[in-house]
Symmetry: C2
Subunit: 431 residues, 2 copies
């Protein structure tokens, strides 16, 4: 073999990877989220990592900001005559869901309740909580023509239960904020405002910019002092919805829907969810309920969970009216936050329950038998690989954090934490 | 909203996706594989879906056939001054493992026993059992300087146990074939053959082409009739290794190693593994033990599992000797085969254990309470979403295959299979 030059690899910015002990916690998180989603009868789907670029472009109507972030695939060495459709990595799980629902429309049972937990890719500038490859955990329900409002209340209940049960989330302060876009839009329509999207975009920034600055911007956008005051008054009544006077049917609908949703969440602990009429969500396709979840002690970090209701999921791909409601956990953003806060330090778990030592080469096959017996009982067993000094074998268990070491010659098991050592029986011993 | 044109989506060749009932079986498979790998103390890692192109090219030494299949990423709208390293989707999990091991060398405990179950991408022509996006389930162990042979026997044991426990694999005939490249290479060296890689490539085709044709090709490559006969004689003695006369130290080592590995697998059922000296594996980096698993009744389908031992995993990225042994389940290929054989038809399972009907709008909150109680006991519960006629609610359960329906007004549960209906208690009922 000729001498090769060495290319020293380095981390690629925006594409995180973890050491085994952190990966293990990540896997635990994924398991818990999946378990919670399934407890509510949602089924899993996964879609290819790619979509035809035409599918994505049908959705984005071109010119979208998100377009810049799309990664397209090229074969390293293209052959002449390659005339295949251009493919792009999906940048969220909503476009794939819309495409999937349209494509498999005749084979799905509606309401179609699905969860989806995959990687997505965006070629944006990496920064705190923003990655180029990251995981989202989405849950959506879609129906034909009409979808009961009951589901709008189910989403935050699932999310609350899920986020609260993730290892490391104890002591973290977060809150699910809920609004209904019909309220603000009805209000602005009632006030005769014309550039509603521009106005709502400013209101959406209330958690980031000083209120005075927003007021100024609203004024510059043509709102009167009186209009602005009406907006502030309405938002301030977030926690007393019944006291808001609806200016029109849209606003009335919004208030009633939001009240229905909040009533459906009364079983959650105090402060878990809150109505907050300043929540707008940037994406224009939301038409009713909107959700946002942030760390209350670090609201600038960005939403760790967001979603809402949309009137029509897949109109770009199928001539059916498919209303839905969904919510997405920004898994990587949430996980990274707790990782940086060192919340996982005490959670590191060994990949094995017990290490069986190897006294000598001759005992290898009896050690294997012992290992097999324990594995049949669901115990995770690592056999030490070489007949080295016991000190070395013990120190391996210690380095890997394996909690027990089994000495097969005496059938004694050592608890690595307490140092205690006692006789053990293969058919009854438990880690 | 302006009227939009509809883009009717179509499946993208080589990028499979499944309906929820098949996806559920796929997830079961992934769970079982992971469980088995963990029973042996292997830890999970995942790496980004991409690598720097420089990392892949350091490995492939350019000019490789696989290069053509590499997908590189391009941002759809590149900005001027983009000077980032080129990124490519990984086409296997071995290059990422090598890079990972080199990069995190100081933070890993050796022997480093890891499993990895991710998607990989190859821009090749889709055909039976070959996809452009597919899953591999890899298990490898890597050590510094020296790795005990014991691990070469552990791999097929894990694989046998894993493949045998996958739903739908009952009645499927497959066999793990094992060889050691030192035997054939030692033999060819002993015979004074010079173009060994060319010769082994032909021998590797013994399962696909008639023996006479291979003999002819070997003759064309310069081997004498006598040499060819010696090769045939050796291969025929695959099941009586001790009767093979070693021509040199390499061949002797190979025979001893293969015997050690086969002895370590004697606990497996008759026919599960077999020594087969015609197994070579295409990849040149294997240096000892090699594995291959095919369907015995459809050997042309391609290997559903393959691997082997390598002397030096990461010499392209780090100046350390890192021998290893590993094996990879071609998950998508295997899964697709059983799917096409309709082996999953009886396995389809509902995402929910029980559907609770909704008698009327007023009972929604008491139904939600009932659902919560059952979920707290780990039961997967779907609430019917609207107070429709019971017939409609029952037919929904039937379409989704939900096995039980709970009527909250009488607290009776109907078994959808038998039609039986009986009283049920929320604190004791089980699906």
């Amino acid at each position: 073999m000729s001498k090769k030059s060495i290319y020293k690899p380095r981390p690629v910015s925006g594409f995180p990877e973890f050491l085994p002990e952190i990966r293990r916690i990540e896997q635990q998180w994924l398991d818990i989220i999946r378990e919670k989603f399934e407890l509510y009868g949602y089924c899993s789907i996964e879609t290819p990592s790619i979509e035809e670029l035409a599918v994505i472009e049908a959705k984005s109507d071109g010119g979208d900001d998100a377009d810049k972030e799309i990664y397209v695939l090229e074969r390293l060495h293209k052959e002449d005559g390659d005339k295949e459709a251009r493919l792009a990595l999906h940048f969220d799980q909503t476009v794939p869901l819309a495409r999937y629902t349209a494509q498999h429309f005749n084979d799905l049972v509606f309401p179609f309740k699905r969860y989806q937990m995959q990687r997505v890719w965006r070629g944006e500038r990496p920064q705190a909580g923003r990655f180029r490859e990251f995981r989202q955990c989405d849950i959506d329900v879609i129906n034909v023509d009409h979808l009961p409002l009951h589901f709008d209340a189910e989403m935050p209940a699932i999310i609350w239960e899920t986020l609260s049960s993730l290892p490391g989330m104890d002591g973290e302060k977060f809150q699910i904020q809920i609004s209904n876009r019909k309220i603000l839009i009805g209000l602005l329509e009632g006030l005769g405002v014309e550039n509603i999207p521009e106005i709502t975009r400013w209101i959406d920034k209330l958690d980031k910019l000083p209120k005075d600055q927003i007021a100024n911007e609203l004024k510059n956008s043509g709102l009167s002092q009186n209009d602005i005051q009406k907006i502030w008054d309405t938002i301030e009544k977030s926690d007393q919805l019944q006291s808001i006077t609806a200016l029109n049917e849209t606003m009335k609908e919004g208030i009633e829907e939001l009240q229905f949703v909040m009533n459906g969440l009364s079983h959650l602990p105090e402060g878990a969810v809150v109505a907050d009429l300043s929540i707008v969500r940037g994406l224009d396709y939301y038409t009713g309920t909107v959700y946002e979840t942030r760390f209350t002690d670090d609201p600038d970090y960005g939403a760790i969970c967001a979603g809402g209701r949309y009137n029509d999921l897949a109109s770009h791909y199928i001539n059916k009216k498919l209303p839905g409601v969904g919510i997405s956990i920004g898994f990587s953003r949430l996980f990274d936050k707790l990782l940086k806060k060192q919340k996982f330090i005490d959670l590191k778990i060994s990949p094995a329950d017990v290490l069986i030592t190897l006294p000598n080469e001759e005992s290898r096959s009896s050690v294997s038998q012992l290992a097999t017996q324990l594995r049949q009982r669901g115990i995770k067993v690592e056999q030490y690989h070489a007949p080295q000094k016991f000190g070395k074998q013990l120190s391996y268990a210690e380095k890997k954090g394996i909690p027990y070491v089994w000495f097969p010659d005496t059938n004694e098991v050592k608890n690595m934490k307490t140092g205690e050592q006692s006789k053990a029986d293969t058919s009854t011993w438990k880690p």
